[in-house]
Symmetry: C2
Subunit: 336 residues, 2 copies
């Protein structure tokens, strides 16, 4: 095998691996904390003296590069967003890469460069990493995992246990863009479109909401989409979530592809949206704050939490009602 593709020896702890780490990973991810020779890295004290928060996520999206992102930028956004919706400011990430033997090194470098760019934009640094190389035929090219560390203000209490009957449900922008953008990038469907994934850090949005009195709970609707977040609310609280279908922002192109292929956009992954539950009287203020940000311009109040049976009810355009069932079969695998 030539020098332009990954070999098993790139994973063995010896000279090839050192070269790969230095020329691809360390070069793009360079920061004062990253020390590719250390077993563990010391984290400087994080501002504010709040609560240290941690989260982790794996990434197996196919294709690895898609309109609006790559598996690399997604691995930053996914983990940054899990910290952000928990009310934390993201600071540090660690990175695991599982790479298939024969992988094009130039492509790996593009992906790591896009990861580095996303990290810079989200103001997080990669402080530690690990690389494994697997034999040809395993891994589907590349999997990544990231673990994030952040800090949440001591007083901020958010959670499913704080959701009350009467609360309003908001979403920060159109749903399903990421799912459909990735789907269109798969050649198997023979479709093309202009649609970009919504993948981005939601920290500006969550930060805008965090100081709002009456903020109960935030979550980013990834795998399983908006509907799955709402089911989690029902299951945890025993309350009903009632949605106003006409209020839910869905891009025309997303709706069109969904209709063509039989998908429901409410079950498709977003990677740059926030679902927020707020005390009803604070909903207009929450909406104003979201809409004031470029990413939140299309935010909407989409429903409410109510006493009643623990299910998700969709009030349709024509005045009917439909129960949204919990997801069983995977409508669109390998989306994140």
């Amino acid at each position: 095998m030539d020098d332009t593709h990954i070999r098993l020896a790139h994973g063995n702890g010896g000279s090839y691996m050192r070269e790969l780490i230095e020329t691809v990973f360390a070069r793009h991810l360079a920061n004062p904390l990253l020390n590719v020779q250390a077993d563990a890295v010391a984290l400087p004290a994080m501002e504010g003296g709040g609560v240290v928060m941690v989260t982790t996520d794996g990434f197996t999206v196919q294709p690895l590069e898609f309109p609006g992102g790559t598996i690399g930028s997604l691995a930053v956004h996914g983990t940054v967003n899990d910290l952000a919706v928990s009310g934390a400011t993201p600071y540090y990430l660690t990175l695991n890469a599982f790479i298939e033997e024969g992988f094009d090194i130039a492509r790996l470098e593009r992906i790591i460069a896009s990861l580095a760019e996303a990290a810079r934009e989200a103001r997080v640094v990669i402080v530690a990493g690990d690389t494994k190389v697997l034999p040809h035929g395993e891994v589907g090219g590349l999997y990544l995992a990231t673990t994030g560390v952040g800090v949440r203000a001591q007083h901020l209490q958010l959670g499913l246990d704080r959701v009350q009957p009467g609360d309003a449900v908001l979403v920060s922008g159109p749903v399903g863009d990421h799912g459909i953008a990735v789907l269109l990038a798969r050649e198997e469907f023979g479709l093309r479109g202009e649609l970009l994934s919504d993948a981005a850090s939601v920290f500006p949005l969550t930060q805008a909401l965090a100081s709002l009195n009456g903020l109960r709970f935030m979550r980013d609707p990834t795998r399983g989409g908006l509907a799955t977040v709402l089911h989690e609310i029902c299951r945890a609280t025993g309350l009903e979530v009632r949605l106003n279908q006409t209020a839910i922002p869905v891009r025309e192109q997303v709706a069109a592809v969904c209709e063509m292929l039989g998908y429901d956009p409410l079950f498709l992954a977003c990677e740059g949206r926030v679902v927020a539950v707020v005390e009803a009287s604070q909903a207009p203020e929450a909406l104003t704050r979201l809409q004031a940000l470029p990413q939140g311009r299309e935010a909407a109040i989409i429903g409410s939490v109510n006493a009643g049976r623990a299910h998700v009810v969709l009030q349709t355009e024509l005045g009917g009602e439909r129960i949204l069932e919990e997801l069983e079969d995977d409508p669109l695998p390998r989306i994140c």
Copy 2:
């Protein structure tokens, strides 16, 4: 597919995934911090007010179960050990699983139970996790990644930059056990043996050394083995490492298999050993402390760091000298 094997739907964010996480992961890993419904988890303040340390590692060992461990226990020991050799007390782990469609759920449960057992022994808790399911034919069954968080005493300064000419090099026990135990567990070799992997937490060993004046540097010799750690010392310091071959502990069975198959035990992975560099006058005390622990009974002073060319020299049994070259091709892939 029946209910006893992993389906793609176990990874889609819906009801199958929730059930898998509750019945397999959460049941075995249960602890007050783990909240499978949260996006991120708040870490209680860690004792001692020291420096927060973080590290991450991926695991792809084949076979997934081997004498002395599983990929699950290894995923605990590997990351705990990276914290330990950096001088930290390990507290928290996060866990990523990449599981192949069709994987036997009973086997997954055995592996997660062994992971949970290793975590209890090492006194760390799993605080967050993520699971991805990949199509049949990818992943080689199961990959894991763990990220560890610990605390290092404020005053403790360890690192390759502290290594000085004249320092002594110690190893805490026989080298190559893990590599050979995994190799023997691979049916392809048609060999059988009683040998167990040395995989274990090295924290008791590193804790015993941490209070020693004159401790310069510790590392666990995993991929690439003892020799690769010594090459890292040479490269970072520009100094020579001189080894006394007869002093290096190698089990008879490891030596025999190595001779038969043409491996060098100095390049084989350990998963429960520590290499320590200490100021020469402190070496006897370091040895005493290691040998006082069950895991360190066969510890030895194996060489020294010297001014001279930056290479690893092995003084052989017969009085000759041999330069240990840096590892290029992988002698034994998928060892961790």
